[in-house]
């Protein structure tokens, strides 16, 4: 299927409608008039003022491990916390830090088994002030390059499975994409897919790179659409989760 500009706009506005049905109607109409992100920004601002954010502490990024642990974090949340986070558009702050140096001072919601990352919250910003003051924004300016497809299996705590595991492909559009931006796009796509049940415990994901996402051989189950940073008057599909394969 082709990911046309119209489709991208529909996906972007639908995401806002799902997250904030109380705010989105007017914004969606405006967004359809103008793709520019001012409307989205204003919505994000409203979400931020009353919302919550997760804090991801990043020590080391290996994408397969990062994908698995991001899902593990989202899977560990209670429905109430998931709902609140979704309403805040799964806002996440990415900070450079070593979880092993922070565990005595801060309560993390999830720590990667290999210690390469940890997640706190999602909580109101004031709850994570101490952590944010101690650390610095994650900076990863390296541009991504192609990799061989690699499959990861999402964690499956015993008795936690509501359905049989399935397999999907996860595409990331790597052209002009920095590592730091990749974390943001993957983070939103994966978290929101876990929250709405598209991804579940034990699912398999094959992580694939592609320069641009313009067509998909398998229909998508979820798309990450955001302003194209090279052409801010357009939208771009940064990542896609396919239907079961």
């Amino acid at each position: 299927m082709t990911l046309s500009p119209e489709l991208l706009l529909t996906v972007a506005t639908e995401r806002l409608r799902v997250a904030r049905p109380d705010l989105a109607d007017q914004s969606v109409r405006s967004a359809k008039d103008s793709v520019k992100d001012s409307v989205k920004d204003s919505l994000k601002e409203e979400a931020r003022a009353e919302g919550v954010a997760a804090v991801a502490v990043v020590r080391d990024v290996r994408l397969p491990s990062w994908v698995r642990e991001t899902c593990a974090f989202a899977l560990s949340l209670t429905p109430e916390r998931s709902d609140a986070w979704r309403r805040s558009l799964t806002r996440t702050l990415y900070l450079a830090g070593r979880p092993d140096n922070l565990r005595e001072r801060f309560a993390f919601t999830h720590v990667a088994a290999d210690g390469t990352a940890a997640w706190a919250g999602p909580d109101p910003d004031r709850t994570t002030t101490g952590l944010r003051r101690l650390l610095r924004t994650f900076r990863g300016h390296r541009l991504l390059t192609a990799w061989h497809p690699v499959t990861v299996e999402l964690p499956c705590p015993q008795g936690d499975m509501e359905r049989e595991p399935v397999h999907r492909d996860l595409y990331l559009a790597t052209a002009h994409l920095t590592l730091a931006d990749a974390l943001v796009h993957l983070g939103h796509l994966l978290a929101e897919s876990v929250i709405d049940g598209t991804l579940g415990p034990g699912d398999g994901l094959t992580l694939r790179s592609v320069p641009h996402l313009t067509t998909l051989a398998t229909p998508y189950a979820a798309l990450r659409v955001d302003t194209d940073h090279l052409r801010p008057d357009r939208l771009r599909a940064y990542a896609a989760l396919t239907q079961e394969t």
Partner: protein, 368 residues
């Protein structure tokens, strides 16, 4: 066994004249070094080589070559070179790639730009006139660790975070002690002065029982971090802040200029005294009269008074030679709970002992 003490003062970039603030730091360190050396095994580490690799030094060298061409650096004064440094600080920073040839030359071949070589040569003369121990201003003293080795050791200690593979910087991470993450490189891998200090001090700290860091109070957060890292390697680490000397109530960085009437060279020209009087007098002023704080502005009249006191002290001490053991005993009184001697307490004791006879052996050991 004699305790091993490492004195590691912050160094001055050889790109400008020494100011009263620099002189104060150097004189404090010198008194501490010479007093402590009488009772302990002391390493005084002051290596310009280590810090040539900082952006401000390499950037200055690149700026000179790009904008000035061939200048007769051998004939320039430190004030003239300092004027060029002020111009450099007003200029837009050069791209990192332009500094790389300079970094490689300095790192691999111990190369020093003739402007900085000239400044260091002039400083050695000031040191001589002030009776300062020269810790190797013009000697090639590379740090014990290469940059990669330093990062590896830092990460191994649990206090390093290396994000270069993702296009990020290297951080010093003492967050387990509640200290904020501190970047020590630019994303393209260029080290800042803290990275240079770590290359030098990590291997040295492990070889000493006590480390004393003398620094400008404005650098306190970085020196608190250094203290934490070095203490991981075993020694007791002390921080000794030595405040700057305001000029007319204002603390200014040398990079902004405005120091012409107050350079070390200008001051020395006004101190046409006997060498012993000059050496003791400047220490009485910069160590005892000004103290560790930075509340008092520089006052030439008080400096002259300190020289007059030095004349009287030397006269009274003339011929009083109680010997090495007595000197050691006296120095030991000014150590508190550490091995190194407190320069302020020791120097004040010279002034406070109006009723007692000053000891010429002590003056010779520490001050002259």
């Amino acid at each position: 066994m004699t305790p091993r003490v490492l004195l590691a003062p912050v160094t001055v970039t050889p790109a400008k004249p020494l100011t009263p603030s620099h002189l104060k730091g150097l004189l404090w360190t010198d008194v501490m070094y010479r007093a402590t050396a009488a009772i302990a095994d002391v390493t005084y580490r002051y290596s310009p080589t280590t810090y040539h690799l900082t952006e401000q030094t390499l950037g200055f060298w690149e700026f000179l070559d790009r904008t000035q061409g061939d200048l007769p650096y051998d004939a320039l004064s430190e004030e003239e070179i300092g004027d060029l440094y002020v111009l450099f600080r007003k200029d837009a920073p050069a791209p990192a790639g332009a500094l790389r040839p300079y970094a490689l030359e300095a790192e691999r071949n111990g190369w020093v730009h003739p402007a900085s070589a000239r400044v260091l040569e002039l400083w050695t003369r000031h040191y001589s006139q002030l009776g300062l121990h020269d810790p190797g201003l013009t000697t090639h003293q590379p740090p014990g660790l290469g940059f990669e080795e330093m990062v590896e050791q830092l990460v191994g200690l649990g206090m390093g975070l290396d994000h270069r593979s993702g296009g990020g910087p290297v951080y010093l991470d003492a967050t387990r002690y509640g200290l904020p993450l501190r970047q020590i490189t630019t994303p393209d891998g260029h080290p800042n002065y803290l990275a240079c200090a770590l290359r030098e001090l990590l291997p040295l700290a492990a070889e000493h029982d006590e480390v004393v860091l003398l620094y400008d109070p404005e650098l306190a957060p970085d020196y608190t971090l250094l203290q934490r890292v070095l203490a991981e390697l075993g020694p007791r680490v002390h921080r000794v802040p030595v405040g700057r000397v305001p000029i007319d109530g204002e603390i200014r960085s040398a990079r902004h200029g405005g120091w012409h009437d107050h350079t070390a060279g200008a001051l020395l020209r006004t101190l046409e005294a006997d060498p012993d009087v000059r050496r003791l007098g400047v220490r009485l002023y910069f160590v005892a009269a000004l103290g560790a704080g930075q509340a008092q502005s520089f006052r030439a009249d008080l400096l002259r008074k300190s020289l007059e006191r030095a004349v009287r002290l030397l006269r009274r001490a003339d011929g009083v030679r109680p010997g090495v053991d007595a000197v050691r005993q006296e120095l030991g009184r000014h150590r508190r709970d550490h091995t190194h001697v407190d320069p302020y307490r020791l120097t004040c004791s010279l002034l406070a002992r109006a009723g007692r006879t000053p000891d010429h052996d002590l003056l010779t050991t520490v001050y002259l």
